[in-house]
Symmetry: C2
Subunit: 442 residues, 2 copies
């Protein structure tokens, strides 16, 4: 879990600690429930849940070290009895959550935490940050997967992500969303995600000629070579690839592909395809990468590009068109009473909740109902499931492959009209009568 | 350096390792120089350098662990002699760089690395990622500092940054750029950055009344209290703050401020100011936060808002209007020859370089010249300085306060017209005759 490890309880906003001090002082540390959800976003019709495993891991290990307490002492801000209390604090609460790989919609809780108020409060910043970045990236990647219409995509974003945690989260989240691999070697080692990548332009220019560079590479990687052919002239590059590819064939190896990284991709890919086919290399795939995002993928495919697989980088890896989600964590129940923040035009649903999903025969998603936790909604599936009870994980976490398979199955069952990149239909989400009653009573 | 620590040499794109395998196989591991720079960006007229300390730290500790080598072995991709070589690899090269807190412009190298080709290549992904995020955030924060026109700003972005590394980088980079503090407690502990924050709406709603919440908070933090007054009704909140503030005064304490977090800020802040002043509390400051970025700050100040300090969050913390820089790392010299990538419409300057800055009497920035490293440009200051020699850091790194002071001094010397949020003038950067000659010869 390198780079995704819990940075400790001081990875929090100061006000979480000052508020908790207030609750401690007034003996208000009573059970409370918080809901984590995303407010409607103009550019996102659905979201993909991710980050639960990091959260469970962090909450399991949640504790202030002596060094952290000592530092808090010397800030002079807090009373000693409060800090003594913090030094013994562990997470003892319950978490219900959608599994990673579930699809969720605006205002639906993706996680609810029930714990003594101080615990539930202090973890707020970490929870939003962690589930936020993982879900943001899984959502962006899912849009790319949709746009690629079944063609493989590889995550090439590592150098441009907003830091190392994001670099790892993008690799993992995009794999969940259906990417076939990543360039990120550490993600390969950490989670077994297939890694890919061959050469940059600087490799080609480091040799006397482009053909020399291809030859050197093919000798070393005879079964996995992809040649970058646009360093000088793409069509000549394709011919050089053919020359070396034919030599490889004679030795019993097969050139895997060529990669385009610049230029007008539709025409170029068609021309390169023709060169490869005419040279008797129809099995050599064409990979393309060039500042792509989901919109570019959709345009290229609609325009008849002869591309077999895509590398997507920066714009996916920072979710450039929507670089943050309005993810919030709101208190919905405290000391046995349902509560909610009063705010203008923003919905916060009081009470402990459940998300119910109705599906058609065959599994197609029909409608969601946000209801009261524990209520029965016949014929619907409850999406929030216990992830932690009394501070301990409930059962083993799913493997990454299981999460990926879950998402693939979900995504297939979401109608096209909800997946359109722009002007997607609004997926129907209604509120159950019982939950509505609770709101009215407040 | 929690969360900013070097994740190790596998935090890299696979192609860095495959290219390096090619260089190893062909005995091409000769000295090479790479330039790190940012291509022109439509929304950024200047950039702020940051991230050097992490880079020097990472390169000093650069090595493949046995476990990492074992994992590479079992991938079956690489030859054993190459992996044996990697297992002994250390960074033995030279780094020249602009210090953190320097201001730089498009196409100017902010760092150059000279090392045996394999070393210089493998670190590419990490360098771009690390310097990229730190500089991106320092640049965004500098724009906010400019817009705030001397008023203090605090970083409130932690929950919405793209992961934990970004959360830490934003706190550090925004402090370099002149923010007065952060809500990020871990950044306070790690670097001594002043931390601030008091309460959220949920704290206020947790009490019987707003006044009770203020009272409870004031009892606990009599010298540092700021009340959030917009939970129910902002003007009534201001009156409740006055009531509790007056009680605090009688006890010899002073309410520090009130915070607005929603609503039409210009009118509200004026009304709240009047309430505070009429109640004899002119020393109580008004803090405001509400999805601000540099554009909002500029509008509020121009509109006559009576705000004394700002909290800026999400949009700053993900650099929402420009969530990535086109930062690249290009080979410019290899084996004693200057080289550059051939590419359409994109400038890559061959050769080892220096950035010279001309200033007026009094220090105002006049013009930069990108020249050849080692050439003399009379009357100008050379900005790239040795940071590592033969793999070792050159001298001690500056403290964060020194970096912050350097930036403040630089920023003051950059004319207003280059700092405008939109349509800023293009700062003059030319290329020296000697560097021009090198380009022509290629």
């Amino acid at each position: 879990m390198s780079c995704l490890e819990f940075p400790g309880p001081l990875f929090t906003d100061l006000y979480e600690l000052t508020m908790a001090a207030g609750y401690f002082d007034r003996q208000m540390d009573i059970p409370a429930t918080f809901s984590l959800f995303v407010r409607p976003h103009p550019r996102r019709a659905y979201f993909v849940a991710a980050g639960l495993q990091e959260v469970v891991d962090a909450l399991t290990r949640f504790r202030f070290s002596d060094e952290e307490i000592d530092w808090l002492v010397q800030t002079g801000r807090f009373k000693r009895d409060y800090l003594a209390y913090l030094s013994t604090l562990r997470f003892t609460g319950d978490v219900t959550a959608m599994a990673d790989g579930e699809i969720f919609f605006p205002d639906e809780p993706v996680m609810e935490v029930t714990a003594p108020l101080i615990q539930a409060q202090i973890i707020e910043t970490y929870l939003i940050n962690t589930v936020g970045v993982a879900s943001l990236m899984a959502t962006k990647a899912a849009r790319c997967v949709h746009a690629a219409a079944g063609l493989p995509i590889v995550d090439f974003s590592l150098r441009r992500t907003q830091g190392s945690h994001a670099g790892m989260a993008v690799a993992r989240s995009s794999y969940i969303a259906g990417f076939s691999g990543t360039s990120n070697v550490l993600a390969g080692k950490t989670w077994g995600i297939p890694v890919s990548g061959t050469m940059a332009h600087s490799f080609v220019t480091a040799f006397e000629s482009e053909a020399d560079a291809f030859e050197a590479y093919a000798n070393l990687f005879p079964d996995s070579a992809v040649f970058l052919i646009d360093t000088y002239d793409t069509l000549q590059g394709a011919r050089n690839a053919v020359m070396v590819g034919n030599r490889m064939r004679k030795k019993g190896n097969a050139l895997q592909g060529v990669r385009l990284d610049s230029g007008e991709m539709i025409t170029l890919s068609q021309q390169v395809r023709r060169i490869l086919d005419q040279a008797g290399l129809p099995g050599v795939k064409i990979f393309a990468s060039s500042g792509f995002d989901e919109y570019a993928l959709e345009r290229l495919i609609a325009g008849g590009a002869r591309i077999d697989a895509f590398g997507v980088g920066t714009r996916m890896g920072v979710s450039a068109d929507a670089p943050y989600l309005d993810m919030v964590y709101k208190m919905v129940r405290r000391g046995g009473s349902n509560v909610r923040k009063v705010s203008q035009g923003k919905i916060t649903l009081a009470g402990e909740k459940q998300v119910f999903r109705f599906t058609a025969d065959g599994g197609r998603f029909l409608e969601d109902v946000i209801g009261v936790r524990g209520e029965t909604v016949n014929g619907a599936t409850a999406l929030l499931r216990p992830a932690m009870q009394k501070g301990r994980p409930v059962g083993p976490m799913p493997t990454l492959e299981e999460i990926r398979a879950r998402f693939a199955s979900n995504f297939e069952r979401l109608d096209q009209r909800y997946k359109r990149l722009d002007d997607a239909d609004l997926y129907p989400v209604r509120i159950s009568e019982r939950l509505e009653e609770i709101q009215k009573r407040l």
